[in-house]
């Protein structure tokens, strides 16, 4: 599905992202059996009993969570449990790996690893582009080594190469960025060595700096078009000129025995406001900030470097700290050589780490733990298994889906979860997966599954918002190329009057407030304060209209094949009143410019036929659900509207901002704040308990027209409704004992199915994955 047509001009490969490089064929079942045999041999050696096989009920819930990131719906559970056939588990695994859910579940995983934030240090445009890029990469099942190479060697603007998000995320912290790289891709924690030789491991501070040197040529750079950079020269020249004129006039007056007429202060004043406008031309172009590479940037040792092998402030040459050296081909950037070295099958740690990650995603523990803190002392419990997994990764061409397919098809994965506590340091031989609590995203996505009556892919509104942010950034910057520095400078002068008016309003406002205070008119004080605050953005808003809007207008004309309009900037004096300022309330100064439609920039418009086909497809899926749940025809129109609403308000974690805002359910459930690598928490907390007992989330799950309630209502009698409740929440029917417990509860006053739902959602078995 060609979802995001604009984004990628990969500097490295011209591989279309729709069809990833074909993975070399892996004989899934044969390799799965090999892994099982290696485990078996290890169990024999160590007297370990394998866990009993997981029932279909346990398997279906777990595999949906592990691959799709959510519990199965009532319908999905029924279909799987009722299906005959030896191969149904393998078929289910294939189906889930091919689904849209896969992309979302694994997006959540990689967003945690890469600390993806939609906003913040990374920049809103780069953040949106990076988010799209990771989603796309998973969607197309891009080989992992290619993905890492793209990240490490990225440079350019966010819309040219969204993988720059990897560096933008650590804006101005290149040393920290390297420490994170070592941890994420090489499974090596070396952050201690940033300041001194590593206290527990073999790494030296020199090695830390030598590795950082590979990427030090990268610099976070704002846009520096002539239209941005040169107006300040024009300003300096004009001010100098004017000052010289004033000086001459002044001398002439004195020479003529007259009182010198003018005072220079207005020059400082005038050019002060124009100067702010000129500086803000760049500020408004911040979305275009990207990564540039410059070999001339040299990394130096810190001023307090204390080891005998070099002097403080010595320049550091790039050198690899493990494996082979990284040679630069002629014309290549050091980041390209570094990326190649890092992702080489010969790199002693690169493949081990991803093999461990994929294994851990299925089993809850890696073969070498911690997988991002490997050291020479840290050897795998089952070295043959580790080696076979690494070879699987290489043989598959780093195809993550192919490897996951093998792992999920092992008998070991399809065993019951281990019931004992796994103490850190205690060797684990993988008789089965370990018991895990759902991740925050799995919990949230499971609740949205209980709520959404019809299954859905990412709602358009999310993809549009993300994409628009990127496109708007590109539009503004490309437009700036079409105006001259003189035109930009003229626009700045026009906008300067708004800066001035805002400052004047602040000065007048202060006096008015003093009067109002004396008169005891507190309402007026508040109003005036608010107004003054509001108009302080007036200068930037005027600048957006005076420089960016005409620039984008020009771009629009050219893209339509028409000649560029002439300079829109007149010399006519501009006067900005308080009323003008107060009337101008647009939130984002570049909004008027961004909103202009420009051919080739906005989301590729679907033809009316295509739009209709999309809408019909979506409606068909909802109507299918309506029929399944026996929603009467008369109600179906309303039902369609309800389902559309549910998709927007109860959307999947991967479709929300990253991270979700503090206080949201996702964060309460322990979602990572994405400040640090894999910073999510599976721990219990009082706010979680309060949420599960008292929140609106629970109320919504139990309201009419949710998947859960419709599944229950679909069944006529109370026993079948009990079954449906269990099937939807736990993907199985109740045991006899559970049936009896419920009957007893009903007899003692808990006579509605909501009581049962409430009770079950507040059990451990609901949020833990067996």
């Amino acid at each position: 599905m060609n979802k995001f047509p604009l984004t990628l001009l990969l500097s490295l490969c011209a591989v279309s992202f729709i069809h990833a490089a074909p993975s070399r064929t892996v004989d899934t079942m044969a390799v799965a059996r090999e892994l099982d045999a290696l485990l078996s041999a290890d169990w024999q050696k160590n007297n370990v009993q394998p866990n009993p096989p997981a029932t279909d009920e346990v398997f279906v819930r777990r595999v949906y969570l592990d691959i799709a990131g959510r519990i199965p719906t009532y319908r999905e559970a029924q279909e799987f449990l009722g299906a005959p056939g030896q191969d149904k588990r393998a078929e289910l695994i294939d189906k889930l790996l091919a689904s849209d859910d896969y992309e979302m579940r694994f997006f959540n995983y990689w967003a945690d690893v890469l600390r993806l934030q939609s906003f913040g240090a990374i920049g809103t445009v780069a953040g949106a582009a990076y988010t799209e890029y990771i989603r796309n990469s998973l969607h197309s099942n891009k080989p992992y080594d290619q993905f890492v190479r793209e990240l490490i060697s990225a440079k350019g603007r966010p819309w040219e190469n969204p993988a720059i998000g990897y560096y933008m995320r650590d804006n101005r912290m290149p040393l920290d960025n390297f420490a994170n790289t070592a941890r994420i891709f090489l499974g090596t924690r070396i952050e201690c060595a940033q300041c001194h030789d590593h206290p527990f491991d073999k790494w030296t501070q020199m090695q830390f700096y030598q590795m950082t040197a590979f990427t030090y040529g990268n610099d976070v750079k704002a846009i520096e078009n002539p239209a941005i950079m040169q107006p300040r020269e024009l300003l300096k020249a004009e001010r100098k000129d004017l000052t010289a004129h004033m000086e001459e006039a002044r001398k002439a007056s004195i020479a003529a025995g007259e009182q010198p007429k003018s005072d220079y202060r207005w020059i400082v004043d005038y050019f002060g406001f124009v100067g702010q406008a000129v500086a803000d031309i760049q500020y408004l172009a911040m979305g275009g900030t990207g990564i540039v590479y410059d070999d001339k940037r040299k990394l130096e040792l810190p001023h307090d470097y204390k080891y005998p092998d070099a002097q403080p402030k010595d320049v550091v040459e790039a050198k690899t700290m493990l494996g082979q050296s990284a040679e630069r081909a002629p014309g290549e950037r050091s980041t390209e050589a570094y990326a190649r070295w890092m992702t080489s099958p010969e790199n002693p740690r690169f493949t081990t780490v991803i093999a461990n990650r994929l294994w851990k995603l299925a089993f809850g523990l890696a073969v070498i733990e911690p997988l991002d803190e490997m050291s020479d002392a840290n050897t795998p419990v089952n070295p043959e298994l580790m080696k076979r997994l690494e070879n699987l990764v290489k043989e598959s061409g780093y195809d993550m889906k192919a490897c996951l397919r093998v792992i999920f098809n092992t008998r070991a994965y399809q065993a019951a979860a281990t019931k004992q506590e796994i103490v850190p340091g205690m060797p684990y031989h993988f008789p089965g997966p370990i018991l895990r609590r759902m991740t925050a995203e799995q919990m949230w996505d499971s609740f949205t599954t209980l709520i959404n009556a019809a299954p859905y892919a990412t709602p358009k509104i999310t993809t549009e918002n993300l994409h628009n942010r990127v496109v708007k950034g590109a539009k503004l910057i490309d437009a700036l190329d079409l105006i001259t520095p003189e035109e930009a400078y003229q626009g700045a002068k026009v906008a300067a009057e708004s800066y001035r008016a805002a400052a004047e309003m602040a000065a007048q406002g202060r006096l008015k407030i003093e009067e109002a205070k004396k008169a005891g008119d507190l309402q007026a004080v508040e109003t005036i304060t608010k107004q003054v605050a509001q108009v302080q953005g007036g200068g930037r808003r005027a600048l957006g209209r005076a420089v960016y809007l005409p620039a984008v207008q020009r771009l629009a004309e050219i893209k339509e094949g028409r000649p560029a309009p002439p300079s829109p900037f007149s010399d006519a004096p501009v006067h900005v009143t308080e009323a003008d300022l107060l009337a101008d309330t647009v939130a984002d100064p570049t909004m008027p410019a961004q909103q202009l439609k420009v051919n080739g920039y906005d989301k590729s418009e679907l033809t009316p036929e295509q739009e209709q086909a999309e809408a019909a497809r979506e409606e068909h899926a909802i109507v299918d659900a309506a029929n399944y749940f026996n929603v009467p025809e008369a109600r179906q129109k309303g039902f369609i509207a309800i389902c559309r609403n549910q998709r927007i308000y109860w959307s999947r974690a991967a479709d929300m901002i990253s991270p979700a805002f503090r206080g949201s359910y996702l964060r309460i459930f322990g979602q990572s704040d994405r400040e640090l690598i894999e910073n999510s928490s599976p721990d219990a907390s009082v706010p979680q308990a309060l949420t599960l007992m008292n929140s609106d989330l629970l109320k919504t799950v139990m309201s009419t027209d949710t998947q859960l309630m419709l599944a229950i209502k679909r069944n006529p009698d109370s026993e079948a409704q009990l079954d449906a409740t269990y099937l939807t929440l736990l993907s199985r029917k109740p045991t006899e004992h559970e049936r009896a417990v419920w009957h007893k509860a009903q007899a003692s006053g808990l006579d509605s199915i909501e009581d049962l739902i409430y009770a079950l959602i507040n059990t451990r078995r609901f949020i833990f994955v067996e």
Binding site: P199, A684, R764
Partner: protein
Amino acid sequence: MTTPRLNNELTRRQFVARAASSILGVGLLPHFLPGSAAATPFEGASKLRQVATARNVIYLYMSGGMSHLDTFDPKEAGSPVMGPVKPIATSADGVRVSEYLPSLAQQMHHVAVISSLVSTQGAHEQGNYMMHTSYALRGTIRHPSMGAWLDVLQGGGNGTLPNHVFIGNESRHPGAGFFPAVHTPLFINSPEAGVANINTFKGLTETRFQQRMALSAELDADFLADHPQRNVKAYADMYDGAIKMMKSEDLVAFDLTQEKDKMRDAYGRNPFGQGCLLARRLVERGVRFVEVTHGYWDSHSANFVLTPGLCDGLDRGLSMLLRDLHSRGLLDETLIVLATEFGRTPDINQNIGRDHYPKAFCGLLAGGGVAGGQVYGKTDKEGRDIVEGRTEIPDFNATIAYALGLPLDQITISPSNRPFTVCDKGQPITSIFG
């Protein structure tokens, strides 16, 4: 055999045991090699320690960079750096504040002004982080805030209410840092709204709620029996904790309608004022660390319109808090802190605003054993440079920790095996204690 090491996922909760064992001191840490650069970490951390004079802290954070000249370090009227603002006398001899703070002026005999703060961080996020943690913002670790350190090193407090509460909308807060999530503060977005999800559904009777929870336990019994894992059991503990909190009499502390209108008006009917009132109520019930934020001090333009408005809320809220705590006999054991990320430029810019200024700015300490009515440190006559009593952020925080009786040189090992102290190498200002 995998080396026993702190594994993020499985042992976050276990590190607390580790931390407790490190009370035994630096010398017993096994990993440091003699002669290595890391052999004596935190040499230079203060060895000073006192019996705690403060039981609780109310930490008032002025978000955005509070101008020092327009508040607690005013210069002579008519000075070009003062704009139209004049200083006024206060209830403390020789101490002046800006005319924007008339009510606080009457309470300054309770307060010690630290006039000589200096930070290395001039940007909001970095400055906020430094002020809250004493360490620089990094991409590889998160440091704990003072409330989390207090919770870990001392605990104590009310059994059913959390020890550490944050009142406000500020999205940046280091929280528990590298400590387990259980030490994260309880976030209260708005003082009026109270604790989120604290009440059972409207219409759900207590009986039915109990029955539902009993049913839940029964339906879960065999799962719990089969799975003795710690993380499973931890949920039972949290549910107990949550239900205890729901039923706690102390929960009424979060209900501001319990206070008379006159009291609520006196604090100021705005989020900061009501937040201060809520903080007093929480401290009364044994909550040990409450933070209340007050934004948006970042007046790059229209400083003399925006700042008076902000000062109004601060003036009313803090003066009432001091008066109220004092009259209830709580001020002696409650340390009030006023902090901000940096000050604002003495020079007034063209937009009649002030820009960021970390070179010299001020904070306040009151109560909790601090002698009031004094100014510690001094800036020059235009508030540009510190001339006396230079206090770095770790020193300011060390003073808070000192008041609480926390050990300043005790090393705690993070899950990533890095050593930290409460305030890096901060030295407390012991002279301000009475």
